[in-house]
Symmetry: C2
Subunit: 337 residues, 2 copies
């Protein structure tokens, strides 16, 4: 099955580039509200399911034990930009469990924030704390420490923490996470390929807890609320996830993953969203997510105006001249297969 | 016409992302040696045709007048990384014409080289000299100054320098550059959409001068030789264009453009190459270019081994673990439509 072109990038009078994608929108019963392209094909969700990976941190009691508030919980769900307050928050999480950055196994990279990277470059080099996944890894370490487990191999598929994570993902998505669909993520933890229809259903459950055991539903709600209250901590300055959640608060949850993946939830509608661009382009995936919000969330004119730059971003060159735009092909998003 | 998937990006046991592309390989008579996908569709070549844009600098005598050698000529054809010697070379070009950075109209951006950007951030901020197109713009300014023209608007489509450039591009490619196919490039000069089959033919003429007037053929040869001798100046440390030309010297010319475009030439074979990935992905376009070189250039085992990491790059994560690969679908590249 060939996925349709859902996003075009224009330059002057012509289309310069095209992005194909598959898109799933579902409720917690699995009913598909939108199914564009091949929503049954397995897709690596990458960082888009960090809320599922962070769930044991709440559910197993580690978050309470270490006194974590909204900022720490949002960081556990984050692909953060490595700005100073992100780094400080992750250090706080590790410190609560008696650890420091040396326990992290996510690897180091320069902050995603160019400004933070340039500031850091003046005096030093990045550590694992600056890795966009360091909050998630700190969360894994806290789960291990609170349970009295050896935390050295917390990132390996067979470690009890990752086995808990795997069970949570299976519970939310209803997908079987088999070894033949398992790969290694950028931060070295396992990532399992899951059909978009299952991811959308999983995020519908995340949206309002429907279909989950009560303790799990409560843990999901706590993570959702933390991200809604601290959207800067889930991404960072100027980032799509942060800006969208700053506009809509608890009415929208969105989370990016690498290679053109986005997952999200519309809690009041009980809907889950899963998007994958064939080619891995984040610019297209986020325009699609913005268009879905514009279609499926009741919004007022002010909110529509705030959302418009994300649905159809204007492209400017180094002199600030308007050179083109990213535009979602709306009919492609209306068709339900 | 739907272009075929030519490049896959794997992660663990699965394909994670897919890139569609059109590919043209032609000789100077226009005979197509390879035509994959829609090679008749107009494509913005962006920076991939900087050698055509630099041609008046040599042909009109400005390069001789200002005493330019290989480094300056390669910089005029470059999308450079903004490393110190790139910046110094562009300053030298401007100085020869009695100008400085204030004459550049390309806009400023941080050096493409992360290392150069971090070093610069310690003491300052980028100027137009760091723009990857600053050498091209310095070349335009030199053409204007050598001809005694007002250089203030050298970047506008109606300026004599851009009109010369337009005529050169039409001569090489045989395409009519009409206003309805004109857009603004990242550095504010005009960019005209041209079919890949015409671009490939144009680069076949560039490869060995066949079909060009003698003075134009000589100017093309001089630019080709300059880039072959100074490949670091056309891109920079660790960049694809630089590394490929360091391996093959004068036997291969390659030049990247934004949004997944590459053009190139195999001078000894008299062949021109033009590639456009539908989605704008440079990682896919350069793997395709590497695969074309492996197919169409007679190379020895040492060269094949040196080329292999570009044909099928291994992807590693932040801990250095191998997580996947970029791979060209070879049969897709063998079919000639």
């Amino acid at each position: 099955m060939t996925n349709p072109v859902v996003v075009e990038v224009t330059r002057g009078p012509l289309v310069e580039s095209r992005h194909r994608a598959a898109v799933a929108l579902a409720d917690a019963t699995g009913k598909m509200m939108l199914a564009v392209g091949d929503v049954a094909a397995p897709v690596f969700p990458r960082s888009a399911i960090k809320v599922f990976q962070a769930l044991p941190l709440v559910e197993e009691g580690a978050a309470d034990r270490y006194g974590f508030g909204d900022e720490e919980l949002a960081l556990a769900c984050a692909s953060h930009s490595g700005e100073p307050a992100h780094v400080a928050g992750v250090e706080r999480m590790l410190g609560a469990a008696g650890l420091d950055a040396s326990a992290l196994r996510c690897g180091a990279h320069w902050p995603m924030s160019q400004s933070a990277a340039h500031t850091l470059a003046k005096t030093g080099a990045p550590s694992a704390l600056h890795n966009n996944c360091s909050g998630k890894h700190a969360g894994f370490l806290c789960v291990a420490c609170a349970a009295g487990l050896d935390h050295a191999d917390y990132w390996r598929p067979q470690h009890p923490v990752q086995r808990k994570v795997r069970a949570v993902i299976e519970d939310f998505t209803g997908a079987v996470l088999s070894d033949d669909r398992c790969a290694i993520d950028g931060c070295s933890v396992p990532t399992w390929a899951i059909p978009l229809e299952n991811l959308a259903r999983g995020f519908a459950k995340f949206a309002n807890g429907q279909g989950l055991a009560p303790t799990r539903a409560a843990a999901a709600a706590r993570l959702r609320d933390a991200c809604a209250r601290k959207p800067w901590h889930i991404a960072g300055t100027g980032r799509f996830c942060t800006e969208i959640m700053q506009i809509f608060g608890a009415r929208v949850f969105v989370k990016t993953g690498a290679e053109g993946v986005y997952c999200g939830a519309l809690p009041e509608q009980g809907l889950g969203i899963a998007v994958k661009c064939d080619d891995g382009a984040g610019r297209a995936a986020q325009a699609i997510v913005a268009a879905i919000i514009a279609h499926f969330l009741p919004i007022d004119d002010t909110e529509r105006a705030a959302l418009a730059p994300f649905v159809q971003p204007v492209l400017r060159n180094w002199n600030g001249l308007e050179v083109g735009a990213v535009r979602v092909i709306e009919p492609a998003l209306r068709s339900t297969d």
